[in-house]
Amino acid sequence: MITLSCEEVRREISNYLDDDMSPRMRRLLEVHLEQCRKCAVLLDSTHNVLVLLADEHRFELPAGFSLRMRLMLAKEFEKQKAD
């Protein structure tokens, strides 16, 4: 049976997280992950850091952003009507 090296797994980690790979590649990768502690830890930790990063950055738009944008556009609409 064809197996992947750790290096090949590492190269595919990002695609794996994005679910962006063929079913065949996914199977091969999962077989490797079941047997290789090192790669399983790498995948877990990368995934966890990305989840933390995304959670931590659920920040809002700057206060008043939408309002300022609308005012700016309203001015533009006025100008176009005048022309």
Binding site: I13, D19, L42, L50, L52, L73
Partner: protein
């Protein structure tokens, strides 16, 4: 972290809705441009922010791009989603401003020339890492540090993709780089941010060592 796989039919429906809205705006119903912008204003802002990293500049560039989008609406072909089109305008504007800022400060571009293989740090055991032990504020600071430590080309792609949640195609449009380039940089950015984060946070707790190539 699954990518948003929009079904063909749903995509067509969105494009159709956009076309109608845009036709109305072009016919003189200008106020409806807000409806086109509202669902994507956050993504517009964070695209600019990912590149510029300051709130004031990001807002200014967002507004300029939104205005450009309105003035140039007639040139929008409707082959892609409006959001992809506008995000590429934002990306362009932001990069132009960044260049001007650089020229002013004469700062050297700090992009590594090597985009090849990247070897992540080997962790003894992720599950042993005492995440609960880190105070929330410390956690936030560490994450921010890790993000700031990334070279710009990797930070941009990571912010757009993993924080801003743009899909691969939108990220490619916003940064004007190819889809394979997005994927290559994203892999490296994700491994790097993880490394910065774990090595700064937990070198005290775990025996870290660089994986042997």
């Amino acid at each position: 972290m699954q990518s948003t796989l929009v079904k063909e039919s749903e995509n067509d429906r969105i494009l159709e809705g956009e076309r109608e809205l845009i036709a109305e705006i072009l016919a003189g119903n200008h106020e409806r441009y807000y409806e086109l912008i509202a669902p994507i204003e956050r993504r517009v802002y964070y695209t600019a922010y990912a590149i510029l990293r300051t709130e004031a500049d990001a807002e200014e560039v967002s507004q300029e791009a939104i205005l450009k989008g309105f003035r140039g609406l007639r040139t929008f072909r409707g082959e892609s989603k409006f959001s992809s089109w506008l995000l590429s305008i934002v990306g362009n504007e932001a990069r132009m401003r960044l260049r001007r800022r650089r020229e002013l400060s004469l700062e050297l571009l700090k992009s590594p020339d090597n985009e090849g293989e990247y070897t992540p740090i080997e962790l003894a055991e992720w599950r042993e890492i005492p995440i609960e032990a880190l105070a929330q504020r410390e956690l936030a600071a560490r994450l921010e540090e890790a993000l700031a430590a990334l070279p710009e080309i990797y930070r941009e792609v990571l912010v757009l993709r993993d924080i801003d949640e743009l899909n691969i195609a939108e990220t490619s449009a916003a940064l004007e780089i190819s889809v394979p380039a997005v994927k290559t940089r994203l892999l490296r950015a994700r491994l790097m941010v993880r490394d910065y984060f774990v090595s700064r946070s937990w070198s005290r707790h775990t025996g870290l060592r660089k994986a042997q190539p």
